[in-house]
């Protein structure tokens, strides 16, 4: 029965990572290349969403909006929105950092052969930045995968929620001693999911590795 929560956990993870990626890349990009107002706006966004606990964000979007404005988001949507917007803030920093770790000389060299700024960003800076972003992005993945368990607080039927439903059902009977086992199984499932995800992303990292340029003590600037 626990297994029924796995697809929902995966779905939540993919949805919020997708939202985080779609919003995070432009925000990170704006922080490096944007005009001043855009840079300030994206910096404020990033500070706000990195400064609020995930659970508080979920409750704010779900109960908060429902009670004060009668806007009732479905629990799934509220969770994806809260965790996704938060992840966007973290991911924007991953991409900002990656873009900024591409040495300045790459842009100069690209401009010196006649590329426009946009061409240089597209063909020289971003391909390198995306490679640099994979390792920290893997970290973000494993962090948000586990954050999805917070959606159980508003009743999304994912892995942790099913774990607590089963525990509640058996806690007064003779099965109560199995509660530990249930949570160990829940923990193991998260462990396996995280491992599988990291493994696939590690594969991606290898696939795009630049020969002779591996991360062995590489020093930028």
């Amino acid at each position: 029965m626990l297994a029924k929560g796995v697809p929902m956990t995966i779905l939540l993870t993919l949805a919020l990572l997708g939202l985080g990626l779609t919003a995070g890349i432009p925000i990170g990009f704006a922080q490096v290349y944007g005009y001043r107002p855009l840079r300030i706006a994206s910096a404020i966004y990033e500070q706000v969403f990195r400064g609020i606990p995930a659970l508080v964000l979920i409750l704010l979007l779900y109960s908060g909006l429902a009670r004060s404005f009668h806007i009732l988001l479905p629990a799934f949507a509220a969770s994806v929105l809260a965790l996704g917007l938060r992840s966007a803030a973290y991911q924007s920093q991953i991409f900002r950092g990656a873009i900024q770790s591409v040495p300045q000389g790459q842009m100069l060299a690209a401009r010196s052969i006649g590329m426009s700024r946009m061409q240089a960003i597209r063909s020289i800076i971003l391909p390198q930045a995306f490679r640099l972003a994979i390792p920290p992005w893997t970290n973000e993945f494993s962090s948000v995968l586990k954050d999805t368990s917070l959606a159980s607080a508003i009743g999304v039927l994912e892995l942790a929620r099913l774990g607590s439903l089963i525990s509640t059902r058996i806690q007064y009977g003779r099965g109560a001693r199995w509660i530990l086992v249930i949570w160990i199984v829940v923990a193991l499932i998260y462990l396996v999911l995280t491992y599988a995800g990291n493994w696939s992303l590690g594969f991606l990292e290898d696939r795009f590795r630049i020969p002779g340029f591996e991360m062995k003590g590489r020093v930028e600037r």
């Binding site: 790459q106 060299a109 052969i113 390198q128 630049i210 020969p211 002779g212």
Partner: protein, 261 residues
Amino acid sequence: MVPPGDETSGNVVLRVENLHKRYGKEEVLRGISFELRRGETKVVIGPSGTGKSTLLRCINQLSMPDAGAVWLEDVEITNRKVDINAVRQSIGFVFQDFNLFSHLTALRNVSIGLTRVKKMKKEDALEKARSELARVGLADKADAYPAELSGGQQQRVSIARALAMDPKLILFDEPTSALDPELIGEVLSVMIELARSGMTMLVVSHEMGFARAVANEIIFMEGGIILEEGSPAQLFTHSKHERTKQFLHKITELYGESGDE
């Protein structure tokens, strides 16, 4: 190659007029003027912090000069109406620290300007890139990534990258300063070859062996101005300023005169 001192041959490829540039309070260039004719090689020397690199960057406008003008043949490229991206295609630039695109093979480093900027067909671009790599003696390294190459090889690839665009002149910003001593020779001999084949070159370098071998003129810069210019023979034997003599003496002592064949 134009023989040193021959004023009659060749037309002007680059004309720099009264160039000024300041960074904050510091005035780095204080009125630089000179000309470069087709096929000429001029070597710029001078103490560090004297604006040599700034001068090169102001020429292809990686830095915008504050005042003065730069002419490439009969176009004033400091005019803001000029499409600077189009102009930069015909001004090669070789950096001190190579700045090869680290995610691309040697071959793609050379061909990317052809495909992305000149919109050449991929097969044609790769073919041209191959021949440019062969020209700098690296035909066998086409598929190597920059991090797999020695510094000297990287610098030669970067020269090939500049050559591929068929530039009217190439600017060299201390092309051998970041290299181990035993790798300097291979880069200098490629540059000597280039100069002899008629490429127009402006080279910031203290390699006096190179200057003596191919430079039509040495430009001595100090404090943001050109203190003295003249053929290597002139400058080495009868420099007008005591300061030039001192400086030449110092760099010959430091760098020796090796580096050419």
